[in-house]
Structure formats: C-alpha cells, structure tokens
Symmetry: C3
Subunit: 277 residues, 3 copies
C-alpha cells in the first residue's frame, strides 16, 4: 500500500480517474471530502462507485471511507455506502477499542464481515491508544497529522517536528502489530518537492506508503515507497527460512537474530508487494 | 494560561511588578527562586504577597509554588506559605500519584482544598508517569525542560531535540486528560528571538502557554499563544453543538467526526479564554 | 561506560588491540561481527580471548556478546563462549522479559550467574517493551539504531530523525530504571565529525556513552562523555546528602527537590566514574 489515493463520493468525475495514476489503493470518501449537507445523498454514489471501480480494476484495492463511529452518519454509511465487492472500509479518527468493535459489528450486520479495515489514527486519543487499537487486528493504519495537530490545538509547520512523536509512535505500534503503516498527507498538492521530502522521511521511519489527495501524489508515492532490491532480498530470505522451518515442523524460528513472528511475516510479504515481486 | 510568570517570594519588588506585563497567571515562588537558607523565612512573605496580589488584581490568577513533596520544606510551605484567597498552588517535580495525594491531603488540612493545582512535569520519573499523573485531575501542567534534562544527566542544546520526546509526550497526555499544557521556559531572558521561536514551536505542538521568568517574556507569550479567530470559531461551534445536544437530553455527541468529551469541552473553553472571548 | 568497543571473536588481532584506545569496556563479539558459518568455531576463541584480556587488563571491563536468545547459537555461546572471569555478557536484540529470564537461567547453569548483563535494545519489539525489560535489572543497555530502523523497514538518514523517538524512549527508560544508557553506533568509521556530532547529541539526551566499532571512536567517546566538574559536583553532593541521611537512620531523602532513590544513586556513581573520580 505505497499509495492510498482519496476522492470524494460526490465527485464521480474524480473517482473515475482514480486508477489512472496507478495507486495501490483507491478510497471513495464519505468523510472529509463530503460536506455535512451532502453526506446522506452521497452514500448511494459511494456504493455504486465502489462497485464499479472494483469491477473495472480487479487489481486495484478499492475502499470506502465512512464517517467516524461517533458521528450520526456512521451507521447509515456502513448500511448504505459500502458495496460488498470492495476490498474494505477506512474508519477515520479511531480512538477506542469499543469503536472498532462497533465497526465490526456494523459490518457483520450488513454482510460485510469479510472486508478489510484501515484505521485512521489522527486524534490525541487515537495516538494515546494506538498500541491497543492496532493490536485488535486491522489491515492497515494511517497517521493523519493535520487532524492530529488540530485536535491537539496546535499548528502544522514546515519541519513537522510538532508531529514527530505521534508519527513515530504510530509507525512503531504498526510494526509491532504487523499492520501496514501509511504516512500522513501533504495538503499542498502543488508542492511536489515537499511531498517527496515528506515521503522520504516517512519511508525512513518505516512507513510503507502515503495518503494521497491528488493523482500526481500517487505516482510520487509509488516511486518513493517501492521496496528496493536489498529489502526484497531480505524479505525473501526471511520467508524462505520460515517455510523451511514450517516444513520441518518447527513452529518458531529466528531470522538474523530476532524472533520471526506473524507480524514479521506480514511485513516481509508487504515488502515484496511494494517491490513489485 | 498563555503566560505563567514567576518571581521569588524573597523579592517583594519583583512580585509587586508581576501584574504590569499582564501575564494570565502570576506565581510567587518558594522553590527554585529561593535559596535553601531562606526557605522558611520566605513563607510568611509568600502568603502575604499572594494575598495582596490577589486582592489588588482580581482578574489575575495568583499561584504560590511550594517546594516538591519529598522535600523537608513541603509541609511547612503548604501550612504557612499559601493564602486561601489565591487561585492555587504549583507543585514542582511531580513524580508519583502518591505525591499528588499527599498534596491534596495537606491542602485540605489547611483549609485550602478548593485551590487549583498546577503540576510541574520536569523529571525522568515525572515524564515516565505523566499519563497517570495528569489523569488524576489537575488544572494545568507545565513541562520543565531544564530540570528534566538535568535529571536525565543530559545537556540543553539550541535545537532542543534532546527534550522533544518528553515535551511532546507531556503535551499529548495533557490534551487527553483535558489539562492546560504550559510549555518550557527559555532561561536566557535577553534572547527574545529564542523565546519567540520556542513559543511558536510550543504552540505548534499544542501547548496553550509558556513559563515566563521575565516580564518581557509574558508579553511575548501572550502574543504567541493568543487563539486566532479560526480556533475561537471552532471552539464556539463545538460548545454550541454540545449545548444543543445537552438541551435535547443527549449526553454524548460528536463534533466534526470525533467524540466530544469533558477534556474537549475544557480545551474549547480554554481556547476562548486565550482568544480573549 | 563512556565507550563500549567491539571486535569480532574471529579477529584475535583486533581483540588484542582493544585496550590501546582505552575504552571503558571491550566486547568480544560472537554476533554481528562473526558470519554464520564461523559462529561455532568462534566460541572457543571468544572464551580464551575474554579470559586473556581480563587477566591482562584488570581495570578494563571485558564482555562477550553472545547471539540473541531465539537464535540456534545462543545456548552454545553461553555454554562455550563465556569465561567466568569476564565482567559480563552483552545480549543483543532483547525483546521480551522471557528472553532475559532464559539468559539468566543459562548463565546460572554454567556458573556465570554473577556476571553483568548489558541489554541491546534494537528492534521494534525491544523498544516497545523497553520499560519492562530495563525494569528487570540489567547493568546497562544500548540503543542500536541501525538494527532498529532495519527492523522497522526504514532507512537511516543523516539527521537521524527516524530514530529520535526510539532513542529518546530508551534513554528515559534507562534513567528511570537506573540503568547505564549507551548510545547508538556511527557506522562510517572514517567520519569523525559525524561521530562527534552524534556523541554530543547522545550526551545531550542523557546517554552515558557510545557503542564504538573502531578504536579511534573510543577515544572520541571518552572525550565526549567525560562528566564535567559541575556534573561531578552535583553527584558528590547527592551522594553526601544520602550518606548523611543514612548515617542518621533516615531511609528516604530528597535532593534539590526530587526524591533520591536507588536509580538516582547509581546514576550519581556513574557520573563520578565517567568524570574519572
């Protein structure tokens, strides 16, 4: 998930163009991109657009971002906005384990229990609880710096130091839980240099991809987060060691000094996916 | 609490001038500003100066900083140094929940149970326990970088990276607990540019104000931490949404995607206070 | 422990030269410096080299780094690679309390129960568990940035921001537990300026020394981490206050506002040791 590209459900023109820049995942958004007075009307469009996109592009992971669990839109978004043929739902501003339970229950109620969940960690409480939240088993998590800093009552700056603690903590929690970590957005879509710099920083910290709010950003993210030969090689060796051990009936192995666990296996597969292998 | 301006209890001249630079809160200090051999004699002055200041400036929040709970001065400071008409006490180097309990008990013993508590988080153990400490209900907390780094055996530098983790963690813990967060001091009182830069950084991280050790710093802090129109507007909308829900008998609401809880309400009121509303 | 200088057990020439640059501690390495197909053969050399070095240089702390607990080499390394006359063992990639228990048990089984343990915190899981791990009583801990960032799937950069959170968190956990904190390596051994800068940063954060992978780095580390007169003076006053209280039958005391506990006493002794007192 090198690139997670968003477009609002009220903009079918943008949604239709999502696959062009070849993002790894595309999100039809019912949250930030849809104003309050269009939320309900947008659900049918989200459902239809999600279904059409998934059908037309089988190799593209299509998601629908519903509104946060405490909002008055959440229940209706899950009930009416998510087609069962999409890859999963994105749940923004996740803050409490109970909210994740509520989401899973709502998904199950509507025959969507098999869908993936991508968690948005983008509030003070979300960051404060991130270890517990990601331990409950989601497919991926993104760190939303804009919303986090707004919730902190702070201000975003060019160097981004105000978010470094939270961003680092989310990356670590994701790694420990074996969850794909997706890095913060760059809101100025014209500043490609800022996006490249931010993506490099995110990759250095261990993120596997980036939220994208413009097609051009998806191309930049794919380039920045592609796994290189060395990373792919290490992942291949780790998986081979594990498979050899499993074939011999050995349950737990180590690789280059550290224990190989389920999270490590998932990360290795993710690296190979990013490397195009 | 954009500015928390300190003066030693042994310096009545400085204490008398505290209100001139219009700090949001003034502290008569019995801790760092008073040498060990003057501690006991300074108590009567602290009590009298606190009472006089509070009487003469009803809109100014007056505090007395006592010595830390484990010190031999603590009990006497609370018993003899704090007038019941001040707004509260500042407790430095808070490290353990038991210390906060000891403070509340001592305050109650001397008819000071209604006073606010401002917690100083400025040691390794204070930072390591900050989430638990702030969850016990204090009015505000400040992060003291000088003492923290001294306790770590480290050195303060110009870029301040050595304290970024602790400073960020205190800001987050304060936000989650709904506690006003006051940022570190700048000890070189002549370097206004350094103060401005540090204040901007602190504000970006979510702090609501700054410790000030010189009147000029209080003016700079008030300018740096004033809430802007957008922040005030958001706070007003949040409070309005909550009041409307409360009027309709709804206990829990959301605002712009996140759950509105007691901490969020307190932060909103704090923003309006900072914005002069 | 201003400098912790490593040399591979398969390089007796380098091991013999370890004392020349006057490191505070020397490590005969069975882990990263020894390739997989030489691990078993290297044990006898590690044992002999450790014994000879300790005998020839009584004032030098000699350690053997064994391979990580989950590796197939761990048990044999402890059984055959560690002479009882060395100061201790270094255990890399420590991740779980159970691994530390396994190490202590293995040490006891081979009459090595009295040896010190130096813990390597250098994986995502090690950092995520660092508070619990260091609370179990080790002599020192080092933060390994290269391995940590590799385990995160990240990339090391010149400014090192990608590791700042983890590095800071390890330093704090060590300080709270009263464990000596040893800072990350600088792998480019020719770049002395980078080493100096990194050492200054580490010292600012509260680290007491640095991993060294070249003799020249040990000299630089000794210079960078020497405690200055002010730090030594503070440590002497703290110890004097504690001794006076103990002589008077007082169990718990405070020093300059904060509680003096066992970790604080150990840190003070460490400062004096670093200051050459």
């Amino acid at each position: 998930m090198r690139s997670l590209l968003f477009a609002g459900a009220t903009r079918p023109d943008l949604v239709a163009k999502l696959p062009r820049s070849r993002p790894d995942a595309a999100v039809v958004d019912l949250e930030d991109a849809v104003p309050a007075d269009h939320k309900e009307a947008a659900r049918e469009a989200a459902r239809r657009l999600g279904r059409e996109l998934a059908a037309a592009h089988p190799s593209l992971d299509v998601y629908v971002r519903v509104n946060a669990v405490p909002t008055r839109w959440f229940a209706g978004d899950v009930a009416e906005g998510v087609d069962p043929t999409v890859a999963g739902v994105v749940i923004p501003k996740l803050e409490e384990p109970a909210q994740l339970a509520a989401l899973r229950s709502a998904l199950a109620d509507h025959g969507l229990g098999g869908l993936r969940v991508v968690a948005g960690i983008e509030t003070a409480r979300g960051v404060a609880h991130v270890e517990r939240l990601l331990d409950l088993g989601v497919h991926a998590a993104y760190f939303g710096a804009e919303d986090y800093i707004a919730d902190m009552g702070g201000v975003r700056t060019a160097d981004g130091d105000e978010a470094l603690y939270a961003r680092s903590r989310v990356a670590l929690a994701a790694r420990v839980a074996g969850v794909i970590a997706v890095d913060q957005a760059v809101v100025d879509v014209r500043d490609e240099e800022a996006f490249r710099r931010d993506a490099e920083q995110g990759r250095a910290m261990g993120f596997g991809g980036k939220i994208c709010v413009h097609p051009r950003q998806a191309e930049l993210a794919n380039a920045a987060f592609g796994a290189d030969a060395e990373q792919c090689d290490r992942a291949r060796r780790l998986l081979a060691a594990w498979e050899a051990a499993a074939a011999g009936g050995v349950g737990a192995i180590e690789f280059e000094g550290a224990m190989v666990d389920e999270p490590a296996l998932r990360m290795a597969r993710e690296v190979l996916a990013r490397g195009g292998a």
